[in-house]
Amino acid sequence: MASDASLLTAKFKGDRLELAAGGSWTAANAGELESLVDGVAQDAARARNVSIDMGDVRQFDTYGAWLLERLTRQWRGTGGVASIVGMPEHDRTLLKEMSGVNREPVQAPARENGLVSALAAMGSGVAGFGRDLLTFVSMLGAIGMAGARVLTRPRDFRFTSAVNQLDRVCWQAVPIILLITLLIGAIIAQQGIFHFRKFGAEMYAIDLVGILILREVGVLIVAIMVAGRSGSSYTAELGSMMMREEVDALRTMGFDPVEVLILPRVLVLIVAMPVLTFIGSMAALYGGGLVAWFYGGMSPEIYLARLADAISITHFKVGMIKAPFMGLVIGVVACAEGLLVKGSAESLGLQTTASVVKSIFLVIVLDGLFAIFFASIGM
């Protein structure tokens, strides 16, 4: 490796500056070379006449060529004369190439006022929220239209696709849903028994488990699981189909992508959510029962008898009525986000994240609205 001195040395002869370059003027030495060149440029401000001897340079690449060009351009800009001697023909071609580049001044991006940009971000956030709502409503409308069309021509419904989706979204989700809801049921029962015990009211823990799981927790946990598991995969599938122009291909062949791709997926979610909610709720009650037995010391007979007193078919209905609507919301959000994917992989990632976040948010909002509704009709 060349040392500092041999890369570039400067010598004054009156008002004439003689520079001798040597060694490797290449990318590997570029950092060192740049500081040398900048140093020389300062020295040379007083020199009218500069000559650079490149005779000892062994290797020369774009980096070296550019730094040399930068040096000479600076002098010529201030009216000095710079001559380069001892350079091989081949390196001259490269230097000539460099003399054409970076001629346009680089415009620094205009700095924005912090307050203004904060306000602008807030505004565009609100506008984005409005746009999202509009997208979901129009997707809901498109699915409704496609559904109505399929009703008039039932043979157009993609039955095979729907069965395939049902297998993935419902059947293959059963093990994980069973596991998670069993644990949630067990945890609620344990917490209930632990805290109610202080008042000698352990029995009420069973009321807590029954009502909470059937009305709220069962369906919510399942909806969140489905949004994370199936909603994200819908978005990613549709998104990658958008990226590879498959959706456009469908459209040009005269198919409605909503009818072919989205309707079966959303319908399957509407069917799968109540099924999974039922399975999940039962698993959670079972988990609660296990904890009541081993931790609370209540035998299964007592648990079942108490449960039968505590819950009614109304609680079960409240949970089950909500399930298909949650499926619809997850499906609509996932598919709408999928269709928003642009060309890049980054966009696919962003939309998939957005899909999961928005569908979980909307599921919880919907649950709140249902709670108000059921309270007002006395269920």
């Binding site: 990318a27 570029a30 950092g31 740049e34 730094l67 190439e97 580049v101 980054e346």
Partner: protein, 260 residues
Amino acid sequence: MKDKPVISVKDLVVGFGDTTVLNHLSLDVRAGEILGVVGGSGMGKSVLLRTIIGLLPKRHGTIEVLGIDQDQANEEQRRALERRWGVLFQQGALFSSLTVRQNVQFPMRENLDISQRLMDEVALAKLEMVGLTPADADKFPAELSGGMTKRVALARALALDPEIVFLDEPTSGLDPISAGDFDALIKTLQGTLGLTVFMVTHDLESLYTVCDRIAALADGHIVAVGPMQTMLECTHPWVQTYFQGKRGEMLTGRVSQLVN
């Protein structure tokens, strides 16, 4: 140094599962030349390229690049070697979350210790060398056309001033005019930067206009290697069909006109 091959592949065997793609293949690439590798789809052109740059494992044989045997080299030597070559992938393989400028600066940032100012200037210089404008520098890959993507990818491949550039089908997916421009660009850059170019291609026009030598890949090994004239005289059936076919003949006519 001139006589020693820059890339030397000997007795290379590469396969996946039960299939053998490259079967005892040997090939030398000389310093400062543009070598075009041709072969039918699925014949293993890209496999050869990817094996040389170390993306695919080989079963047998030796690969020597810039005098360094890939098997003997330790991790550090391999990394140093990778800095001395640039690769242009078929689809560009630009990082989609970075702008054009950041894509070109990426190898510099990782491998060199230079100031941001120099990095900006050299990146812009490279972009201008491949025919882009400073205005393109702040675009994201998703905003680029196919030809621009290839140009940016070439600028990135050239970012560290490599000695060898590997090009995987550089002109595929470009219109004839862009493809011609791109060929000319490769030729110019090869002249100015003194590059050795290893190019996998389907494009007959590229082969005629820019390649110094051509290697024809068939049945898992190189069946012919040499300038265009050798290809035209070769008796291997696949090479004959390739160069004497309808599309080949149009260009051959032009070449023989030029020769006469």
